[in-house]
């Protein structure tokens, strides 16, 4: 192996040299083949020492350097910069941690620590000798985004993206844009009129030249990768259009839970779901159903938290998040419209989180009465002539059963995911057990999916209020913008590579890659795997998955790791 490696061993002002005999280490290393410079320094990170390294690289024509000092978490970037300044490819620098993982961990045994430091540096030298010049990938991106869904999330995303200079195509499955929120005449908090909000968004969308809205349209096919997708949509007249976009935002929203027939009396003309009740209350159609002196019973958690209203019910195990707030907001509205109507709210846990608590308090003040029913024993709704008898245990009375003679029963229904199997098929986005789209990580990457460039926002990812849906829509827009605004993305070069000679396509690698970075291609008469570098995250799970050992991860190649093991074990570098 030819190569000229320089090794720089740091005293760290005693933090290393007090427990490791650095001079001895230097001696041991200087004899290794390929090592042309071996030196110790008081502080490798100091300006003077950095300059020394640069000088060494230039004077000796080094093609690899090893710095043995503290944890790479502290100075990896420093020394990559040093290499770059000296004209050496930054990836030909190897960092060896002889402080946190050597001198500090073995303070009682100087000989052992010294011996270990030698071994670690030897492995570093082995790796450096086999290192290659790598370049960060640059993926060109198109400054355009496809937004699927024209509800409040989709529309708001589109506007934000457009304001950031990206062109946007919105595809809405329904004929009418606006989604669920448009039907809400009085939204909480603040009592916004959903129609007004959506209409103003729509008129802004219409006014923007770089936004195109297709209604009654559906996505049928997706090709390409992050930064450069080709998406085919079928528009209302049946023809197809192909869009070239850099990213995709899925803002498909939710459906209100549809109770099973008979679930809490559902089907009875005086049993309505919350969205319909709100429409009745605010929709200007009048409320012929109610008059002063009547009683309304609200039943919470219908379709959520596993509350089974009847045998056939298929509730989700999750909490639908928005319903408690919506119900107490409705209570306030009802008290406003019908001050003479009595309201009984049968709830499980009142989840008016954050500032929504104020709404709960207001509903109480307005006279709404709250009874708590046990999750495993939900209320029963029994028709009784014109009225409905709602029988429920009230845990706040020690589980005593009470009976409400109601003139109207409102089922506070939760959110369920929309039927999106077509989209899931096209975009390959994962769906969670609850049926909503799954993000990569709820905290680190809450709007990203494992498919690079495909984002999930709004209530399609999980139940959300309008406000939260918009926040997530904008967060998704921000991610699109950070991907597309510069016109390119730069990626770490540690990606997997396939040795086409060895590969005999079996598909194992494709199975383990969650990012869809591996695909099957035909090459020189056989089927082989190909890595899409732009999609490869460099995790390397495909490496052991390959039965032929045909995959290597740049920077962590088989030869490098084996050489390192040999070097650690005591062999030469």
């Amino acid at each position: 192996m030819e190569g000229k490696v320089g090794v720089f061993i740091c005293h760290c002002g005693g933090n290393i040299s007090d427990y490791v005999d650095v001079e001895k280490v230097k001696e041991a290393i200087s004899g290794l083949p390929g090592v042309v410079v071996s030196t110790t320094t008081m502080f490798a990170c100091s300006d003077a020492a950095q300059q020394e390294i640069i000088d060494s690289i230039e004077d000796e024509g080094l093609d690899g350097i090893v710095v043995a000092s503290c944890s790479p978490k502290l100075h990896l970037h420093t020394f990559r910069g040093v290499a770059a300044r000296a004209g050496l490819n930054p990836y030909r620098y190897v960092h060896v941690n002889i402080r946190e993982q050597c001198s500090w961990a073995h303070r009682k045994d100087r000989d052992a620590a010294t011996e270990k430091a030698v071994a670690l540096i030897r492995a570093g030298v082995a790796r450096a000798l086999r290192s290659e010049s790598l370049e960060r990938f640059r993926v060109e991106t198109r400054p355009s985004v496809l937004v699927v869904g024209a509800g409040i999330s989709g529309l708001r995303s589109a506007l934000a993206l457009s304001e950031m200079g990206l062109s946007v195509t919105i595809v809405e499955r329904e004929e009418e844009p606006g989604g669920f929120f448009r039907k809400v005449r009085n939204a909480y908090p603040g009592g916004l009129d959903g129609r007004e909000v959506v209409d103003s968004l729509l008129s802004e969308v219409a006014a923007r030249e770089n936004i195109t809205l297709f209604t009654g349209a559906q996505v049928v096919e997706k090709k390409g990768t992050v930064g450069d997708f080709q998406v085919k949509i079928r528009v209302s007249d049946g023809s197809t259009v192909t869009l070239l976009v850099g990213a995709v935002l899925l803002a498909t929203g939710f459906e209100p839970y549809e109770p099973a027939p008979g679930e809490f009396g559902f089907g009875h003309p005086r049993v309505v779901r919350l969205p319909e009740f709100l429409e009745l209350l605010d929709g200007g159609r009048g409320m012929s159903l109610l008059k002063d002196g009547d009683t309304v019973a609200f039943i919470y958690c219908v379709g959520s938290r596993g509350t089974k209203g009847c045998e056939e019910a298929r509730p989700g195990d999750y909490c639908s998040r928005y319903c408690c707030g919506a119900a107490v907001h409705t209570a306030c509205r009802l008290a406003e419209v019908f001050p003479g109507v009595s309201q009984y709210h049968l709830f499980r846990d009142m989840r008016t989180y954050g500032k929504l608590e104020a709404l709960y308090e207001e509903a109480s003040r307005e006279g709404a009465v709250f009874l708590r029913f046990p999750g495993d024993s939900p209320p029963a709704v029994v028709p009784d002539g014109e009225r409905l008898l709602v029988r429920s245990k009230d845990t706040l009375l020690g589980g005593e059963e009470v009976e409400i003679a109601a003139d109207l029963v409102v089922l506070v229904t939760g959110m369920v995911p929309r039927e999106n199997s077509g989209l899931v098929e096209v975009f390959k986005v994962p769906v969670g057990r609850d049926g909503f789209f799954n993000e990569v990580h709820p905290k680190l990457r809450p709007v990203e999916t494992v498919i690079d460039g495909v984002f999930i926002v709004g209530a399609g990812q999980g139940p959300k209020t309008a406000q939260e849906a918009v926040a997530s829509a904008l967060a998704g827009s921000a991610k699109c913008a950070s991907l597309l605004l510069k016109g390119y993305v730069e990626l770490e070069p540690f990606v997997a590579e396939v040795d086409r000679d060895l590969c005999e396509w079996c598909g194992e690698c494709e199975k383990v890659c969650p990012y869809g970075a591996i695909r099957q291609v035909h090459c020189e008469g056989k089927e082989v795997a190909e890595i899409v570098p732009a999609l490869c995250k460099g995790g390397g799970s495909c490496v052991p998955a390959c039965p032929k050992g045909a995959i290597d991860l740049a920077g962590f190649r088989d030869s490098q790791i084996r050489a390192m093991i040999d070097a650690l074990a005591g062999g030469g570098a």
Binding site: A105, G538, G539, V543, F556, L568
Partner: protein, 131 residues
Amino acid sequence: MRGPRILVFSTINISDPGIDLAGASHMEYPASVEVIPLPCSSGIRPSWIIHALKRGFDGVFIAADGGDCAYHPDCTTLTGKVVERAQEMMREEGIDPGRLKMAAICSVCAEAFVSHMKKFSRYLEKAGGRE
């Protein structure tokens, strides 16, 4: 060399900082433990493990990411498969599969790492040197 030699495969983002923290907190563990950091524990080739054991390491420890892995939601399962296959190969080679251990080490799991090392060391000591 003092004590059984252990090769640790750590992960750059998660378990390596945990091992660093052990040193930074001046917790002692055998100096015969040596670490090679990789991006993700699911990318370890079983053959590396066999290679290490054949070249003189007494044991191999995989400090996995567990649920915190940023690369793979199912990192633990994938790494588990690597371990399974490696142990199979070890059995074929006549090596005690107990010489390969895996545990999730998070970025602050300094204590856990040290106790794993001590325990593994004791196990390997009892099992006796190789070759």
